[in-house]
Amino acid sequence: MGSITLKNVRKAFGDVEVIPGVDLEINNGEFVVFVGPSGCGKSTLLRLIAGLEDVTSGQIQIDGQDVTDAGPAKRGLAMVFQSYALYPHMSVRKNIAFPLKMAKMPEAEQEKRVSHAAKILNLDSYLDRKPGQLSGGQRQRVAIGRAIVREPSAFLFDEPLSNLDAALRVNMRVEISELHNSLKTTMIYVTHDQVEAMTMADKIVVLRAGNVEQVGSPMELYARPANRFVGGFIGSPNMNFLEGAAAAAHGAHAIGVRPEHWRLSTSEGDYPGTVGVAEHLGSDTFLHIDLDSGEHVIARAEGEFPVHHGDRIFLSAQEGRVYKFGKDGLAL
């Protein structure tokens, strides 16, 4: 079991309020991603759930029980840290077994669980090495192994992939998703990378300055961003925003069009402009366009789109793909 409820959780460091008050419901078995720019309070929120920080006010419940004042060890959660936080003086085997040893589990059971975890994570042949002798991806797996042997009610991940190189990151992303599919345990995952959020999450929590901006499934957030911030944060490359006359024509303070939602033409369209940089990737073409109205936008065309630096180009938004935002930034 692993349902977690936050009730008006506040956190302040001295006079600085990091989290003004968060209400959140995490259901058992969900993969929840906290995403937001750095300094948005997502890691703090995770550490509050972990019990590594005290809440200033509010309540945290795990499976309906109030754990607000319980220490980290008492909450039945496991955490994977950004730096992996492996114990450098212990072998991989001892690292993974450490939480079991702390729980005074019989040796035989410890051994069984460690070898089971090692098998899942492909660590069998490294069990007697020290963390210092492992690659980044292997260390990551050991950290995950240490978390799963406890069979916790929920896993907490604090930016676990940020120290890996790009190729490895994609692999580990898939591995963690598969792990979630097979374990079906609640996972809370913190990242600043919206691609990780979109690809892994059942439910995304977008945070900004300690406030929850929007909660929803990846596709909900993509299709119906609650405000301009979420619209700009979710999706890659970022949503293009136009203000002034272009927005007024739609009866909004600002409109947003995703790069993949432009209709491109070399002869006619609503927004004329000039191609700046054209990135031809084969599968896609990304065009950086300077509109005559002075704005700079990015457009994505599928496949090859044969324009080059300095060419004239005309953009129009696809039907029904224009996001309208009011003066307060909220979606209209």
Binding site: A85, Y87, R150
Partner: protein
């Protein structure tokens, strides 16, 4: 810089470096050589090859009861260092892992106590010792040297502890370790190398201390530094014996020092140069 240099250049630099190194080491070497000479040989003019007699070593023990100051040195150096560690380890641990806004100020203040010239408090310390009967006792010296080196000990430990990532301690907490288990299974194994270096450097500092040891002892509790200083006048003429006593006094610390080069830089510069 790992660069290819010609063999001749390398030999040239090697000769120059060895010449300078031997020149610097020469006084120590010459004292060791002299310690194996007889008293007549010792004043018979420059000679690098002694007769390898152990006479001086024997006489240092039989005439001056060398063993007593030696043991005093061991007890005072080790005692003051261990005591300082006992007080400093919790303090440095707290400052490294639960820093507050004032931690930096506290550390700087501790450093500032080290700047106080010893001679400025000679009068009160001497008078206190005189009245409390601590004069010429090992206990008294252990206390003074412990207090004197405490700031360095705290600082060294602090810089070592700070290199232990805080996330590891949090991981242990998440893994269900109590504070005691956290210290025993995670912190201690990772901190031992730092504590060992601190111990080593401070034994060296305490062993070589030569102001308080000379001021606060006469015969009973005199460690080697005070004992050797008493050779300055009449007995100083017996050079082979002086050399033997000196060699015995510096040998253990010289060897310890060779093993603690890196820590020396770090400890004595309060982490300012690593």
């Amino acid at each position: 810089m790992a660069r290819a240099v010609s063999r001749n250049t390398r030999i040239g630099w090697t000769i120059a470096a060895w010449f300078v190194a031997l020149l610097i080491f020469f006084p120590i070497l010459y004292a060791i050589i002299t310690s194996f000479k007889s008293e007549q040989e010792a004043i018979a003019g420059f000679d690098l090859i002694p007769s390898f007699t152990l006479e001086s070593y024997r006489e240092v023990q039989s005439q001056y009861n060398y063993f007593r100051p030696f043991m005093n040195s061991v007890i005072i150096a080790v005692g003051s260092t261990v005591l300082a560690l006992l007080v400093a380890i919790p303090a440095a641990w707290a400052m490294a892992f639960s820093p507050t806004k004032r931690t930096k100020d506290i550390l700087m203040w501790m450093l500032s106590t080290k700047m106080m010239p010893a001679v400025a408090v000679l009068v009160p310390i001497y008078l206190i010792f005189l009245r409390t009967g601590l004069l010429d006792t090992r206990t008294g010296l252990v206390i003074v040297l412990m207090l004197m080196n405490l700031p360095i000990v705290v600082w060294m430990l602090y810089t070592y502890f700070r290199e232990i990532p805080g996330e590891i301690l949090e991981a242990a907490r998440m893994d269900g370790a109590t504070l005691g288990q956290e210290i025993m299974h995670v912190l201690a194994p990772m901190a031992v190398p730092g504590i060992a270096s601190t111990l080593l450097l401070n034994i060296i500092l305490a062993w070589n201390e030569a102001f308080w040891t000379i001021q606060l002892t006469t015969t009973n509790a005199a460690p080697l530094s005070a004992f050797i200083a008493s050779f300055s006048s009449p007995q100083g003429l017996f050079w082979a014996k002086l050399s033997a006593a000196s060699t015995l006094a510096i040998a253990p610390i010289l060897i310890m020092g060779w093993f603690s080069q890196k820590q020396l830089v770090r400890g004595l510069t309060f982490g300012a140069v690593k």
